[in-house]
């Protein structure tokens, strides 16, 4: 008997093994591909990233000073056309190019730019090598996107970060680097041998002695080198010659040294002049925020906090950390948080630089609780809280907390930020039922004159309420803290004061108290009485 049309039963484990086998075979058969992202004139680009656009068309040179000696490190293309070169002293460069603008090297900007480059490279692949700043090579094996499109997108992202880059794509990492040097802006090397053969030897090796020897032989290109008999040529050229020969043949595949550093989202800028008003600072902060948020978008993260640091002209710093109620990628929301704070800020010294750092958090996916009332816009709520703090003070806005003891101590308040933080749904427990009317406490408690006869209050006179006491309950003695220096013994009374306004008669329930309870048998008239609060008026 035959079963027709029925598939043989496969267990889930069997199917999983088969799937992994297919993946492994596919990986083995997939051609290797490496992409290199290169930022030419990296240090100069890092410094001029947030400079106004006209600066990019002007002759600019980056210099570095050490031990009283300054050296030009990099020059822009307009400066190079007028004769300025790296390695010159600033005086030499200015002699050749009088309009040259000299800018000092900024290690912070270089570090931030390198971070930005790495974050863009990590969008291509998690396996990224960065042998030196301004250069990243990514292993594209397993990349689902078309390599060309992915690299073009990466270059666009670099452009949005105010960086000009080039990219090379090749089956071998070293050739991808060479392709990036030749690219404008992208070069895809399909035939390694042909591409390597077309290169000048100076591009393949940095050994000056070897290049000089080959130049004496009349060999200037890789193609010419490969036409020599291999055995005899390598015997004469040595180890460096063998490496050059392999590079001329298209290079060899080598494992990449992956970069595994914590992701930092930070940008900084030093101002040319001290800032006097808020508007230019907000303009700069907006630019920094936009660049940082683009980097964060590359990493699929959201901003959960901000750290602002202002460098002041007296070499001190103003630092402030802000929490973002609802993690976001919107520059407007973050800028509003900064603006709300900076509007209230008064500094003794003018800022000369700014550093902005974003705290990143993973995007959260959670099911919404339809029956849980949550804040509609936590970021707006955070901004409103900041405005309320500015209006009233941080100690006057919050969540009321019960007093720790039975004394009328100063008010305790919880942080209002707890309202937009995650907390479990409140479960209504059944507390002991409250009794009596809630008190409206007077802060501070005004003094009152209370007359006692036979230890019973009969009349009260104060700024707020005055009249005959119709009924009273007390005394209620509060004592405690006898174990420390804050030993207290208070006395309180609840009284009903008769009030007369014209023909209208009414009564008011009031609590009075004295901070120092009179001793037993002592005259209460001599005590200092205060009006603690009203139950009803």
């Amino acid at each position: 008997m035959r079963c027709v049309g029925l598939l043989p039963f496969r267990s889930p484990a069997h199917l999983q093994q088969r799937f992994l086998r297919v993946l492994f075979l596919r990986r083995l058969t997939q051609p290797t591909m490496y992409a290199t992202l290169l930022l030419p004139s990296f240090r100069l680009q890092a410094v001029l990233r947030f400079a106004p656009p006209p600066w990019r068309a002007e002759p600019v040179a980056l210099f570095h000073s050490q031990d009283g000696r300054s050296v030009i490190l990099e020059v822009s293309k307009p400066a190079s056309r007028q004769g300025a070169r790296a390695g010159m002293s600033p005086a030499q460069a200015l002699a050749r190019c009088p309009a040259l603008k000299l800018v000092p090297a900024c290690p912070d900007s270089e570090r931030n730019t390198q971070e930005a480059l790495l974050q863009v490279a990590w969008t291509l692949s998690p396996k990224v090598e960065s042998p030196h700043p301004g250069l990243c090579t990514a292993d594209l094996r397993g990349c689902r996107q078309e390599p060309n499109h992915a690299l073009l997108h990466a270059l666009q992202t670099l452009k949005s970060l105010h960086l000009r880059g080039s990219a090379g794509l090749a089956p071998v990492p070293d050739l991808a680097l060479l392709a990036a040097h030749q690219a404008n802006p992208l070069l895809y090397v399909k035939d390694c041998s042909a591409f390597a053969a077309s290169l000048p030897l100076a591009a393949l090796t940095q050994d000056p002695a070897l290049l000089r020897t080959l130049s004496h032989w009349g060999i200037h290109t890789a193609d010419a080198l490969l036409r020599l008999p291999r055995q005899q040529a390598l015997e004469r050229l040595g180890t460096s010659g063998r490496a050059l020969w392999e590079a001329a043949r298209g290079g060899v595949e080598r494992p990449l040294r992956w970069v595994q550093e914590p992701v930092v989202f930070e940008e900084s800028l030093a101002f040319e002049q001290e800032l006097e008003t808020l508007e230019p600072l907000l303009f700069v902060l907006n630019r920094l925020l936009e660049a940082l948020l683009r980097r964060m978008k590359c990493s699929s993260r959201l901003t959960s906090g901000l750290q602002l640091e202002l460098a002041l002209e007296n070499r001190s710093f103003y630092r402030r950390t802000f929490a973002v109620p609802a993690p976001t990628l919107e520059a407007n929301v973050l800028l509003r948080i900064l603006e709300t704070h900076l509007e209230q800020l008064h500094l003794e010294n003018r800022p000369v630089g700014v550093r902005l750092r974003l705290e990143a958090t993973a995007e959260k996916t959670c099911a919404l609780d339809l029956f849980e009332p949550v804040l509609r816009d936590p970021n707006r709520f955070g901004e409103t809280l900041a405005r309320l703090y500015a209006l009233l003070g941080e100690d006057r806005v919050g969540i009321p907390l019960p007093p720790p003891c039975h004394f009328p101590d100063p008010v305790r308040m919880g942080a209002a930020s707890a309202l937009y933080q995650e907390h479990p749904r409140l479960v209504r427990v059944h507390p002991p039922p409250l009794r009596g009317l809630p008190l409206h406490r007077l802060r501070p408690a005004p003094p009152a004159r209370v007359d006692f006869i036979h230890s019973q209050p009969i009349h009260i006179a104060s700024e707020t309420v005055s009249g005959k006491i119709m009924a009273s309950r007390g005394p209620y003695r509060l004592s405690g803290h006898w174990w420390d220096a804050d030993s207290r013994c208070m006395e309180e009374w609840d009284i009903c004061v008769g009030l007369q306004k014209g023909n209208r008669r009414s009564a008011s329930l009031v609590r009075i108290g004295t901070p120092a309870a009179p001793a037993l048998g002592a005259d209460r008239n001599a005590s200092e009485w205060r009006l603690e609060g009203f139950y009803n008026t």
Binding site: R396, V397, P400, G436, R441, F534
Partner: protein
Amino acid sequence: MQAALKPRASAEEVAALRAQLSERFGAAAAGSTVSTKTAPPPLPTGIPCWDAAGGLQLGQLTEACGGTADGALLLESILTQSPNRISALVDAADSLEPADWPLFCMKRLLWVRCQAIKQALHATDLLLRDGNCQLLALNLQRVPARQLAAIPSSTWHRFHRLLEHRPSALLVLSPHPLVEGAKTRVASAASWDLGALDTPRSTLLENLSVSVFKRGAGPRLLTEIPVSP
């Protein structure tokens, strides 16, 4: 020569035309008064006669007049009904005593302690514009009468306008009728003696006599209509 007047369209024709317009252009239909929005449900108050009169309406300003104890009891009753809701209390006289309030309904209460009436009105304005708190209470009960009289009426009109498009309710606790144009006014007149200080809070709420007045929607109904005595 008198031009021949076209006969006026009947109400059915106008309604059909509006229906066609709204069907074709949706909410963008010019002059369409057909609202597809449903009013948000009111907030429960826990006071039977107030709930019977519609509860605390969202998007409206409600005034509760009466003694300080009455206002506090009303507010506590509303907060107790849904303790998970995020609410705000603008305390103009900084008189709230947290020890006398149920703890579970204060976990999500934003307490704004003001020192002057001007600060309280500014804080209320900020929280109304924020729109995150569904219930906003402005306690003016311990504010001196002279300061209350100095509040310009434009302040209340501004609050009305702010509330119109927001699903929030503003409850003003005042010693006497103060808010101009309040859609709902709750008046309570209870006389309390010292015995009330030992009575359970639930019994006090039951003894609270509350009258709810609603302002008519038509232009001629300027007088307040008692809903329940």
